[in-house]
Symmetry: C2
Subunit: 345 residues, 2 copies
């Protein structure tokens, strides 16, 4: 294979001409720390004279890959998705690619717009967490997309697009079973957005385990902020036959419910136990510490990115992965709020 | 001004042809919830027959703006920057524009690559939080950039690029002064990354106030994770003349130090007081609640985006904003860890 000489000077060419190592050139590019002033000046001169600029323009002009992948998620202020993105970014970096993050607030219009941005930019592929698998325009667009796509956290049902998801159904069953094993008999499930794929699966898991145990299902799916959480907690606990345990189905719901319980002066786990879905920063530090179902967040982001790169780099692999659903396991982290440990001082 | 008829059908045209309102078409695009099956089928048929696709391609082909802006930040797993991004995104959305987030880990190479991606994509402008204002390649690139740029959280020193920053120096002075007013006389300052613009400014603020009060400066800038925080806390507290108060200069440092103090069984504020820079989720919920300097995070993201759009939309405004530095105020949130309130149960 012959390789045409690029008109764009490389880092090595700069290093050679300046009579220094590539690490030194890299340091100069990054601000010149730990480089003596004389060397700094010389390298900067060479950079200028050669017109060196570390960019991909040459490669793109030759029709090669843009070395960028898209990451289309509902929100980056949600620690679940931001941690997924960091993990995906590490994989992208290892493949010398950029990760372009676009957010959608689960809105199908924004999803379609985001995918169009990525296509115009000629991204080499993208990862998508679709808000609604049934969105017609999104489905139509994805059918026409020529680059590899992987969905994250939520599948596109009935489409040949590989998906990397957590075992939401099994995780919620496990959590419910854990509370039943503690002896709780009135377990309320608190959540918001019950139509979202992940939460729908978790509600089904809770329901299945409750029914298997012959208990009564108590579901409140109205929680969207602190205020609605406080209202829900007050309401379920004021009922004639109040719950003895609460299962909260996502990160923010757990935090809002815990704050509400603390504000209302309700002792946990004595009066009501609490088990949350999603681990969170400080879950082990608050008092009582909060028992949770921990999702394999980094693994989700990493696996989705690895699958995408394998589809991009390996045509055969791409074919064999069509419609593949990778389901990663969650695990239970027992702390004090479910009753597993005596409350700390 | 005449307007050429676009070949791309609009949402209104779909609505008209299907005999429904635009809201209904929007609902169909978003998955068809709350649309009766008959209407759903009809609208889907019209969408297909007209080849409707909500994209910007037509506009771009006409040479108009791409209606996208870049947001180049060190990390999206850092809640400071992810909250900035959400706020900037709301402004972008209000201007019918997409926010494209790219992350750099404060690496100048990644910054230059990111800016190049945005230029290739023909972004209308971008917001950048530079890791190192002195990076030569970044400075060279920014000099050549034709679209409006605003820096966020950190300025490009000596360049005519408007910057939106928090008053780091004044915030750290205020925090140090608050601890002095409580009667603490040995105030240690704990941080990492002391060369970063924001942290450097905060260290200077702490130093200024300590010197003004005739006290001794105690600085440990070694904290980068939980382990180093625990080591730093043990070290400073084991010294012959240990501190009676700790000032932590950023979010993650505060959390690590608080966790270390709790693990080591050191009572706060009795044995040592704690005041953190950056508010964080659960800061009011942990025991003792943590007093903090709160940065105007949303306002930083929002103001940077507003300034960028004003530069993009108004040539004169752009000229008058060159080199402008907008400094937003931080405020002190006194809670229990500094000694302002009796520790809660």
């Amino acid at each position: 294979m012959t390789k045409k000489k690029s008109k764009h000077p490389t880092l090595s060419e700069v290093a050679k001409k300046a009579g220094v190592g590539t690490t030194t050139v890299s340091r100069v590019i990054n601000g010149g720390q730990r480089v003596d002033p004389q060397t700094l000046a010389r390298v900067q001169k060479v950079i200028e004279s050669l017109g060196y600029m570390p960019n991909q323009a040459a490669r793109i002009l030759k029709g090669d890959r843009t070395r960028s992948i898209g990451f289309v998620i509902p929100s980056i202020a949600d620690p679940f998705f931001s941690s997924c993105a960091e993990a995906a970014q590490a994989i992208a970096r290892a493949h010398d690619s950029l990760l372009i993050v676009l957010t959608t607030q689960n809105d199908a219009h924004a999803e379609v717009e985001s995918v169009n941005v990525l296509l115009r930019h000629r991204a080499d592929g993208f990862i998508l967490a679709p808000g609604n698998s049934q969105s017609q325009v999104l489905r139509t667009l994805l059918k026409r997309v020529q680059v590899p796509v992987v969905t994250l956290d939520r599948p596109m049902e009935g489409m040949p697009i590989p998906a990397v998801v957590a075992d939401n159904f099994a995780g919620a069953r496990m959590a419910t079973r854990h509370l039943i094993d503690h002896g709780y008999r009135r377990i309320a499930c608190l959540t918001g957005e019950p139509t979202l794929y992940t939460l729908h699966e978790r509600i089904k898991g809770y329901q299945k385990e409750i029914e298997t145990a012959g208990l009564e299902m108590i579901l409140d799916a109205s929680i969207k902020d602190y205020r609605s959480a406080e209202y829900a907690v007050e309401s379920v606990l004021a009922a004639p036959n109040p719950p003895d345990a609460l299962l909260t189905l996502k990160n923010s719901t757990t935090i809002f419910v815990f704050e509400a319980l603390q504000k209302l002066g309700i002792s946990v786990p004595e009066r009501v136990a609490l088990l949350g879905y999603d681990d969170f920063e400080l879950a082990a530090t608050v008092r009582p510490s909060i028992s949770v179902v921990q999702q394999p967040i980094e693994a989700l982001g990493r696996t989705a990115a690895e699958l995408l790169f394998s589809r991009m780099l390996d045509g055969a692999g791409a074919e064999k992965d069509r419609g593949k659903m990778v389901e990663l396991h969650t695990r239970l982290i027992p702390r004090a709020s479910c009753g597993c440990r005596p409350p700390q001082n």
